[in-house]
Amino acid sequence: MSALLDIKDLKTWLDSSGGTVRAIDGISIEVARGETFAIVGESGCGKSMTALSVLRLLPEAGQIVAGSVLLGGEDLLGLPEAAMRGVRGRRIAMIFQEPATSLNPVLTVGRQIAEVLERHTALRGEAMQKRMLELLVAVGIPDPARRMGEYAFQLSGGMKQRVMIAVALAAEPDLLIADEPTTALDVTIQAQVLDLLSGLQRASGMAILLITHDLGVVAQMAHKVAVMYAGQIIEVASREAFFGAPLHPYSRKLFQALPGSERRGGELAVIRGQVPPLTTEFRGCRFAERCDLAWERCHVEVPGLTACDNGHSVRCHLYDGGKGVDPGERVSAAAPAAPGATDVSEKVQSGPALLSVDGLKVHFPIHKGLFKRTVGQVKAVDGISLDIATARTLALVGESGCGKTTAGKAILQLIRPSAGSVRFDGRELTRLRGRALRERRADFQLIFQDPYASLNPRMRVADILAEGMQALGVADTVAERAARMDRMLAQVGLNAEAKLRYPHEFSGGQRQRIAIARALAVKPKLIVCDEPTSALDVSVQAQILNLLKQLQRDLGLTYLFITHNIAVVEYLAHEVAVMYLGRIVERGTVDAVLRTPRHPYTQALLSAVPALDQAGERKIIRLRGELPSPANPPSGCHFHPRCPQAMAECKREYPQPIRLGENHEVNCVLYRAQTR
């Protein structure tokens, strides 16, 4: 069967002030009809640029300098722009990462679908209306007739992405390019959207070019996988072959860098160094500088794409006969890291609580009218209780909008709680005001999600680090402060000379290290980590997680780790609390909660996480609908409208916590019988 999309030796170069960026440097891929072809790689490797090159939607400074893109035998690069417009949307459609910005806010949903139909089909009037309804039904939008007249702001994130898919599918394209289609969505919604995409593919037989950084999504969706690194494809294989035994050292490292329960004891594998700037002229393998297996040849000779058995090909000198493939090296990439390195803190019995939160509530009043009358409350955090012992890590898990970040800030008194108590080291924080609170601030610090927004771009690293020390009087003299800065930078693995530079000169991972050093500088006991790795690539995430773990060992830090990433929880945390709509529904040790989840929500959440191993066909529990608004939570158990096991009783009142074993508590009526 001839390929639907055949990209041959495509080169796309961008002109920048730093020189020519070879964003895509000769890639060749073939996508067959009905197939899902995944391009996976870290940020900046050129995967999105590939999609834009196929559609010829490159930015102003970019240009395709060589190669061909054949769609069903027709060269897209040779088409005049007018003909290209007929291809876009009609034969190739694209969906983007951010559903919130890819819909036009001033047009109705129906109008945006109609736009595509009017351009690419002969349907008009009644027939077009019928087709629009069909499309919305196909993407699983309830009450489509009403939704057609609504605007983007009336839809939730998952719903918007469904509409985007409906718009993309309107003209029945042969190829759908999905650029990180679920990255901005929660796991349960992600599972819904991925399901929808594969269902639609089965029904229509279109090909999907899936661009993602998430190996889990690839494992679930793809038929074939291509790994991109620094503008080149370094490995192509079928899904089974790739996940069975990745060949390229980079791919293997990626797998080893993934956090998970099986790596709890040891360190995650890290890839040293950084992706080389694409402005350089490569004389050898692009990965050689960072590769543990590289030898002289790798630095002087560019490796070609070598075909191995069963359609697996790889761009590496290890496999092109230069140095025979050592079977020993083809160990499964998923093999656990050095065994025996057990976590010391694992064995530490949890002592008295360092932080103890009881019935914490944060309600934001909703004001309306001329005199700002309070007409309601957004119950962002609605009575959570938790304890963390010294040198332990508690993970607060939940989907976006469940109030976990607000809870973290309320604990730090950055947002004043409406009710409840926060006791830190035996002292109540909620009643502290002004100066008394400021003096305590050195004890608890914060690390943020986005390393690009958490450092002031106009301040040098030295000023950033000194700010907290000055405000809290940690080191009194300038010399003391400077010495402490050097020590902190060394502790997070940066050079002392970094002090004199500005944040924009550092990569994302390095910035996160600076943010950690800033927090450490004031000698905190507790650090609230608010999704500290979710903006980072897998290999960088591994570095930061290793660093956090090592700091906990060395300094006895206590972490409150706020995240939505279950794998990170498994790797790092000792205890877990699962939040849903402002309340904790289940909490306990990592083993208890993640191995034997009891609350229906926890079960659904865990089942929705895409897993790498497809061996045991897991059953994904599909949740209906989306997170309700915290301004108007459902009566009784907040989860009952979406719960597959809801009973009449659930509607009436919120279930009391029920103890299941020593370190496991769940708020669900299902388990009441067991304890009596």
């Binding site: 400074a61 914060l446 405000a471």
Partner: protein, 497 residues
């Protein structure tokens, strides 16, 4: 001392502004992230050409801001007591350095209107011809010769054309060596820094390959010299732009107006900045009742028509000046105080726009994580505003200051035309245009006052706008500087195929 320095209020503020600019430049040079956008401005040919023109205006304005009173010539000493030190008497009128430089054209008043470069008056007058042998002369109605304009010509009818052309050509010929001199100074200044031979450097300049667009700068400079030098030479014997109703040289009036325009454009922003920056950041960062108060305040202020406020302010001041003549010893001081007052009122009525912008930006910035990190350190609110918010809104302040400049220059002209602007005795574009209202209604029409004001203002405002555009492009993160076009393309593609 042959003169007594006089520092007017606006002079003092201009010196202060110069000092502020100097400190700002010094500060920017030391910070890489601040230097980068200015470096982008320096690489824009249009901006640098505009800067050359602006620089000329600024030099004129600065020369006109050095004021003093000249000593009067000593009266013949009638007393015999020679040992007593003589009191120096100073003239009542305050002069500026520009006045002294332009004294040749400033002190040649005609009787009334004359057209540009004219040798005869613009209107017929009754002229008494000298009679023969002491008889009373005849009276005729004719265009009388001007007292100074073209006075050196024996037969204006025959000599006028050739003389003007010759002078103009002489000026153009003189401009060339001046331009070469400027270019040589440039080379001398730049060659060691660029580590190039001067030959290579010239080559790069000629082909427009230098990073700073020297070619554009030199071309602008050349064109300016080509205009300025001939005008200078012509003005020795003619009124290049004609004379106004009372016979004053219009070129002199136009040059004097430049200072007024610059003062209005710059000092007003100096008045308004503290309001808009402080209140805007406070409203956005502190929120709550502070925000409500500031918002209601500027919404109310914005709802009062600006012209009404300005008119009220100026009229109140006028009454004050008239009832307190002792406060202002000279008319220059009086006019100057009124100009300052106008700047203040304009500033008070025009800070709301920037304030609103800054409030919005501060609202956005306060949610950013580095601000929250500072809060988690217990850094005080004022410190957060000064260290985290202010430096991150400075680009907006800068853009709006540069963009507002031209608007304020035009506003002055409109206000003076309406009659609530500067003092009638102060020379400004507005008063020139106001005078032109009657001139345009005459028959034959007197057009040169209005035309000169128009051309000078156009040059000033256009240069300011071009410069402001480049500044905005360089500082506004949303406007990315258009990437250079690819140098390869079809040819490479064909070559590789």
């Amino acid at each position: 001392m042959p003169f007594l320095p006089v520092i007017l209020w606006t002079d003092a503020l201009i010196y202060l502004l110069l000092a502020v600019v100097a400190v700002f430049v010094w500060y920017v040079r030391r910070h890489a992230h601040l230097r980068a956008p200015w470096w982008r401005v320096a690489q824009t040919p249009a901006a640098m050409s505009a800067l050359v023109v602006l620089a000329v205006f600024v030099v004129i304005g600065l020369l006109d801001s050095v004021h003093f009173r000249l000593a009067l010539p000593a009266a013949p000493d009638t007393r015999t007591d020679r040992a007593a030190p003589r009191e120096l008497a100073y003239a009542v009128d305050v002069k500026s350095a520009l006045d002294v430089l332009l004294s040749s054209i400033a002190n040649r008043p005609e009787r009334t209107y004359s057209a540009p470069l004219a040798t005869h008056a613009y209107a017929k007058e009754t002229v008494e011809l000298p009679g023969k042998d002491g008889e009373p002369g005849r009276q005729v109605r004719d265009y009388p010769r001007l007292k100074y304009g073209g006075a050196h010509l024996r037969d204006p009818g025959r000599d006028w054309g050739p003389d003007v052309l010759r002078t103009a050509f002489r000026g153009a010929a003189l401009a060339l060596p001046l331009w070469l001199l400027a270019a040589l100074v440039l080379v001398a200044a730049c060659t060691p820094a660029d580590r190039l031979t001067s030959r290579d450097f010239w080559h790069a300049v000629w082909r427009g390959k230098t990073e700073v667009p020297w070619r554009a700068i030199l071309i602008t400079l050349g064109l300016l010299l080509l205009v300025v030098v001939p005008v200078m030479l012509l003005s020795r014997h003619y009124h290049v732009l004609g004379t106004d109703k009372v016979g004053l040289d219009v070129l002199y009036l136009s040059l004097k107006s430049v200072r007024t325009a610059l003062v209005i454009g710059t000092l007003t922003t100096l008045v308004m900045l503290p309001f808009s920056v402080m209140l805007g950041i406070m409203a956005g960062y502190l929120r709550g009742w502070v925000d409500d108060l500031i918002q209601y305040f500027y919404t109310t202020l914005n709802s009062i028509p600006g012209v009404l406020l300005i008119a009220a302010g100026v009229l109140v001041l006028q009454v004050y000046i008239e009832t307190h003549p002792d406060v202002f010893p000279t008319s220059a001081q009086r006019a100057d105080f009124r100009l300052l007052w106008l700047c203040i009122i304009l500033g008070i009525t025009s800070w709301t726009g920037l304030c609103r912008l800054l409030r919005g930006e501060a609202l956005k910035l306060r949610e950013l994580e580095y601000v929250q990190a500072a809060q988690a350190f217990g850094v005080s609110q004022w410190r957060i505003m000064a260290r985290h918010i202010l430096p991150n809104v400075m680009h907006i302040v800068l853009i709006s200051v540069v963009m507002d400049f031209s608007g304020l220059v035009l506003a002055e002209a409109v206000l003076s035309y309406v009659g609530v602007g500067v003092d009638p005795s102060m020379i400004s574009f507005g008063t020139m245009i106001n005078a032109a209202r009657l001139e345009m209604g005459r028959e034959p029409m007197v057009w040169w006052s209005l035309a000169s004001a128009f051309v000078f203002m156009l040059a000033l405002v256009l240069a300011a706008n071009l410069f402001a555009d480049a500044v905005r492009d360089a500082f506004d993160p949303r406007v990315r500087v258009g990437a250079r076009k690819l140098r390869w393309g079809k040819t490479t593609q064909a070559g590789e195929a």
